[in-house]
Symmetry: C2
Subunit: 256 residues, 2 copies
Amino acid sequence: MLKVVCLGAGRLAHQLMPALEEAGCHIVQVYNRSSFAAQELADKLKSTTFTADINQVLPDADLYFLTVSDDAIKPVAAELKNLISADAIGVHCSGSLSLDVLPFKRKAGFYPLQSFSANHEVSWRWIPLIITAPDEDIWQLLDAIAGQLSSSVYRMTDEQKSVLHVAAVFANNFSNHMLTLAENICKEHGLPFEILKPLILETFSKAILSGPRDSQTGPAVRRDQKTIEKHLYLLADHPQLTAIYKAITNSIVENS
Amino acid sequence: MLKVVCLGAGRLAHQLMPALEEAGCHIVQVYNRSSFAAQELADKLKSTTFTADINQVLPDADLYFLTVSDDAIKPVAAELKNLISADAIGVHCSGSLSLDVLPFKRKAGFYPLQSFSANHEVSWRWIPLIITAPDEDIWQLLDAIAGQLSSSVYRMTDEQKSVLHVAAVFANNFSNHMLTLAENICKEHGLPFEILKPLILETFSKAILSGPRDSQTGPAVRRDQKTIEKHLYLLADHPQLTAIYKAITNSIVENS
C-alpha cells in the first residue's frame, strides 16, 4: 500500500485525501502549520497521524503531496527536501506553478482542474486531473491512482498546463466576475439579481451543449451599434464598467 | 377570447405564440415578410391565418405583438398604425427599446428575459417576464396573461428595463464570451475544450447558489501578482486578450 504524507490541510486536502484513501493509498500523516487544522483533517482519515512541526514529518513515505497554497510550495518543499529519502516523490497540486519549484530528484504535478469550496463536496469522477511527470514510472504510478479517482486524466507538459491555467481563468474567474458586475448593476438600481438567474442557467447549459461560439447572442454579435451606444450611455458614470464593456464588445465583434 | 396578431415569425414568436395560445389567447394571424415563414408558424397554431402583405393584417384584433427584430419594430409599427383600430394595443418584445418607438395610443412592452434558440425549447414557467405598461388597464391585462405563462412577472419602467438589459448583457453575452476566449486559448495550443466543462458547470452552479461575489476565486482576488504576470507573459502575442485580462483583473481587485 502506497504511503502518502499530506502537507497542507486546506480545502483541496480535505477533498483529495479521502479520495486518495478510497483509491487505496494509506495517508500516514498530515502536516500543517496549525496543529488544529492538521488534526481536523487527520480525524477524517483512517489511522493517520498529524504534526505541526515539519521536522517531525515521517521520512519513509512514498509520496509527499504538497497541497499548500502556491506561495508556500517552494519554502515548504525546501524544508522537506532535507527530511525525506531521495527516492520519495514530491508532488505539488498547483495549476500555475511548474515543476521547477520542487527541489526533489523525483517529482510530479497533480492538478485537479476544479474550484474547491469549503462547504461544497465535489464529485471526483468528473474532475479532470492534469499530471505533469517527466519520469515514465512516476507518470504510470500517478496515472494509476488518478484513474481510480476520475474518468479524465491527462498527461501534460508544464507549458501545456500553464496555457490550460490561463484558459481556466477566463472560463471560471472571468465569467464569474461578469455575473458579479451584472449583480452590481442590478443592486445599484434596486433590481433583484434573482431575475437574471434563469438567463444565467440557460447561458451555461447552451455553452456546454452547443459550444460558446455558436451560443453567442446580444448587441455585439449583431453589430447593433444603437444598443451598444445606449448601453455605454447608461454606464457613463462607471469608467471601469465602460472600459470592460468596450473591450469585450470589440472582442466579440472580432471573434464572430 | 383575446384576439392576437403576431408580427414576425422568428425564434421568439415560435416559442411565445404557442404559449399565449395555452394561456387562452386566440392567435388569429401571423404576419411575416416571408410568406413561407409566416405559414410555418401559423401551421403550429390553432385556426391561425397568415400573410406576407402588411396591408392584409386583420384590423380588429385586441393585441398586436411585434416580435420582429429591434431594427424592424419602428418601421413595422409605423405601417401597422394606419391599419388597426385606435383601441388596439401594440406590444413590442424588445429588451433594449423603450415604448417611444411605438406610435400607438395604447401600447406596452412584453420582454421575456431569456435567450431563445431555434432548436432549444424553453420552459416559460421560469422565464421572468418584464412588462412596461403606463396604462393601468393594459398592465392588468398583460399581467393576467403573463401570470399564466410564468411564475415571475415584473412591472418596470422603460428606464429600469434598460438597466436590466445592460446587466443581462454582462450576465449572458459577456460571460459566454469568456468561455469562447477560453476555448480559443485551448484550441490554439491543441488542448480539448472538454477539459474545462466540469469547471464551467461548477462555476455557474456556485454563482447561482452562493452568489457570484462570494464564489470568486483565482489570482486576481488573491492579489497573486506572480501568477498574473505569468499569464500576461503567456498572452503577450494577443494584445486584445491582454487588454481584457488586465481590465477584468483590475475590476476583480477593486470589487473584492
